[in-house]
């Protein structure tokens, strides 16, 4: 199974990934699955009615995250794809999922995912990562914790500098 790094709070751990990503025309193998947004939208009722196993939806950068508004109740995981690590759209998608759509399930970064974006990803609300550079949870934790201060609000609970300064 592919390796996964999971964040909970400031802690990061390596995990085996229980989810299987399935193609749009492939049969449902049962268990924990990730489907495309199109497959989810087309068959959300039957997917919700699965007797067991968790459900994830995968969004490509061009997919509008608002499509999921009001349709997240049975969704355990949203996987946001980085076809190239330079594609910054999933950062916005994650932030809106957390702050605007109120999604509290897993937001997973998949695709060209490098440790150099760990801090940005965590701040935007990602809490699971399938790194493309072989990094481990320990490396990821170091990368995500690199900056002791931040200047702006995001989807995490970190106090930006202007709040820290008020406390002084």
């Amino acid at each position: 199974m592919p390796k996964l790094i999971r964040a909970s709070g400031a802690a990061f751990r390596d995990e085996e990934d229980a989810f299987v990503t399935i193609e749009d025309d492939a049969p449902d193998p049962g268990g924990d699955i990730i489907v495309s947004l199109a497959r989810y939208l087309a068959g959300s009722e039957s997917l919700m009615a699965r007797p067991s196993g968790r459900l994830g939806v995968r969004l490509e950068p061009e997919d509008e995250v608002e499509t999921l508004e009001g349709r997240l109740s049975g969704v355990d995981l949203v996987a946001l794809a980085f076809p190239k690590f330079r594609d910054g759209r999933p950062f916005t998608a994650a932030r809106l999922l957390r702050t605007r759509l109120g999604f509290s399930g897993e937001i997973r970064a998949v695709g060209d995912v490098l440790r150099d974006q760990a801090g940005f990803m965590v701040r935007c609300g990602f809490d699971a990562f399938v790194p493309a550079d072989g990094s481990t949870a320990a490396i990821w934790a170091e990368a995500a914790g690199r900056h002791s201060h931040v200047y702006q609000r995001a989807a995490d609970a970190r106090a930006p500098a202007f709040v820290e300064r008020q406390g002084e």
Partner: protein
């Protein structure tokens, strides 16, 4: 000058440590060049023709003497004794080694400087009016907003991988010295009807392959709502800007494709959703304002023998005429330092010259130095009684060329002499034109005249907004130059119009002179070149340049 606090310093230290680790991984082979390139660019490190080039941010063009001396020190220790001030008001070092880059960043961080986001598809260094805090025509000091934007945009978790680079300009003066209308966002500080301040918001200007003068998408934005509005603009752009073609990825293309009104509606809808939660609290803006050093202006400064010397020394009088501007305070002047010595490389400055300017700023200039997008420097607060001494010192160091805004005050990008993207050289063209118009009486008689030269279509030399723009192109391996007329980067912003077929390098200066001569023939009383051109159209100039060839 904004004074860093412990948090600002910690951010630089953390970022420098991160970059040191990235360089280590690259040298160890843990990162490929494809992976490393965007990472090094996020820290201003380019690979150019001869070496790496490090672009250091001069935040909104503001430098202290201590910082200027640190730049001089870096030029000596890590480069070849010089640096190059750019049209983004930054400074570039041309001969940097990759292995040295982390040490250079440490040396910069020691004086509160950095190279964060001087390249890459992120929010770049903000452009401010170089006369901020000194200009007689200013509403309030725009640098407070620039520093707030610097902080808000630094390592922004959502907006560090935009479709393309993103540049913001802020000015608080009706005379635009920032080229705000050809930035991705131009913010023009205005006084609202309620007496409060706000911004006119211009989005989608730009140069490059497809130049646009940006449209206004909001006539008045209350200043306390600036950051939620910026977030809305950036989010619309991050989501919808094109990513399939680098030449169509700037926000100007999105704004033009949607139309300014539709784009504005998208932004306003997003802004509504963000709400005041996206704003930086007023208390923080006030903290930033208070963290700026306040110049210690004398209430009744003596002008000493300023007027007497002006009357007695024609060379000094010429310098004052062209390089000293009206200050908001009586008895003070704004002194422009020309980095356009005749025959020199536009924007280049030696380490010794940097040290001298640092000394002068310390002794006579309230410790304040500015860099301009026209590749010059400014001492914004000099008592008139000291201007003569400053001039003498500058003159001895080759920094007192009295040519600000004149025909030899030419913008030129590094071009094919340094740049990996360039198609043709720009520096030697600028040098040749400057030599042709070296005679100062003639230059003054010609009056305001802005020549801007780019070595490729990316337009770092701002050729689109030059009164004469010169664009280097590659014709089958040879350097050719395309002339445009009528551009302006000021409040009357305009994109220049192509004059005719590109010229070989040895005909460019003659062509410029032919245009100037035609202008001198055509002009009416009080007309600048731009005014004459706008009245006559380009026919007389086309005739002057191309007639002989046919």
């Amino acid at each position: 000058m904004y004074r860093y606090d412990a948090i600002d310093r910690a951010v630089l230290a953390d970022r420098t440590a991160e970059f040191r680790d990235q360089v280590r991984r690259r040298l160890a082979g843990e990162l490929t060049e494809d992976q490393f390139k965007p990472l090094r660019l996020m820290n201003g490190l380019y690979l150019q023709l001869h070496a790496y080039m490090l672009r250091v941010a001069v935040p909104y063009g503001s430098l202290s003497p201590v910082q200027m001396r640190a730049l001089a020190d870096i030029a000596r220790r890590f480069d070849r004794g010089y640096g190059h001030f750019t049209t983004r008001t930054n400074i570039q070092f041309n001969w940097v080694k990759l292995a040295d880059a982390p040490d250079i960043l440490d040396a910069l961080a020691a004086v509160d400087l950095h190279a964060i986001q001087t390249s890459g598809n992120c929010i770049r260094n903000v452009t401010a009016d170089p006369y901020a805090g000194a200009a007689a025509d200013e509403l309030e000091d725009p640098r407070v907003w620039c520093e707030a934007i610097r902080q808000w945009s630094s390592l922004h978790p959502e907006f560090s991988f935009l479709p393309r680079k993103f540049k913001i300009a802020v000015t608080a003066s009706p005379h635009d010295r920032t080229a705000a209308k050809v930035h991705d966002i131009g913010l023009l500080l205005r006084r609202g009807r309620d007496g409060e301040t706000g911004f006119e918001v211009i989005v989608g200007g730009g140069m490059g392959r497809t130049p646009y003068v940006g449209p206004t998408i909001r006539a008045y934005l209350p200043s306390n709502r600036l950051f939620s509005y910026l977030e809305a603009i950036l989010r619309v752009y991050n989501r919808h800007g094109r990513r399939d073609n680098a030449y169509k990825a700037r926000i100007k293309i999105l704004v033009a494709a949607l139309g300014a009104e539709a784009f504005a509606r998208e932004v306003e809808a997003e802004w509504e959703k963000i709400g005041p939660e996206g704003d930086v609290p007023a208390a923080e803006i006030e903290r930033i304002r208070d963290a700026f050093t306040t110049p210690d202006f004398s209430s009744d400064p003596s002008t000493g023998d300023f007027e007497a010397r002006r009357a007695a020394e024609p060379a000094f009088a010429r310098f004052v005429r062209n390089n000293v501007k009206a200050h908001i305070r009586p008895g003070y002047g704004i002194v422009d330092i020309s980095l356009k010595g005749i025959g020199e490389t536009p924007g280049d400055m030696s380490a010794d010259q940097m040290d001298l300017v640092a000394d002068l700023a310390e002794r006579f200039g309230q410790g304040d130095i500015r860099s301009t997008h026209e590749q010059n420097l400014v001492l914004p607060h000099v008592r008139l009684e000291h201007v003569h001494e400053v001039w003498k010192a500058l003159d001895a160091a080759g920094l007192a060329t009295p040519n600000i805004n004149l025909i030899s005050d030419i913008i030129a990008c590094p071009g094919l002499d340094y740049c990996a993207l360039a198609n043709a050289r720009a520096i030697c063209v600028a040098q040749d034109i400057a030599r042709r118009f070296e005679a100062p009486d003639r230059a003054e008689a010609i009056g305001e005249f802005k020549i801007k030269i780019s070595g490729c279509i990316n337009a770092c030399g701002h050729h689109h907004v030059g009164h004469i723009g010169i664009l280097g192109v590659d014709k089958k391996g040879e350097e050719f130059y395309q002339l445009t007329l009528g551009g302006s980067g000021a409040e009357d912003a305009a994109v220049g119009k192509m004059l005719g077929p590109a010229l070989p390098i040895d005909r460019v200066t003659d062509a410029v002179e032919a245009i100037v001569d035609a202008y001198l023939r055509e002009r009416r009383e009080g007309e600048r070149f731009l005014d004459t051109l706008r009245r006559t159209g380009d026919a007389p100039f086309k005739e002057a340049v191309y007639a002989e060839a046919h």
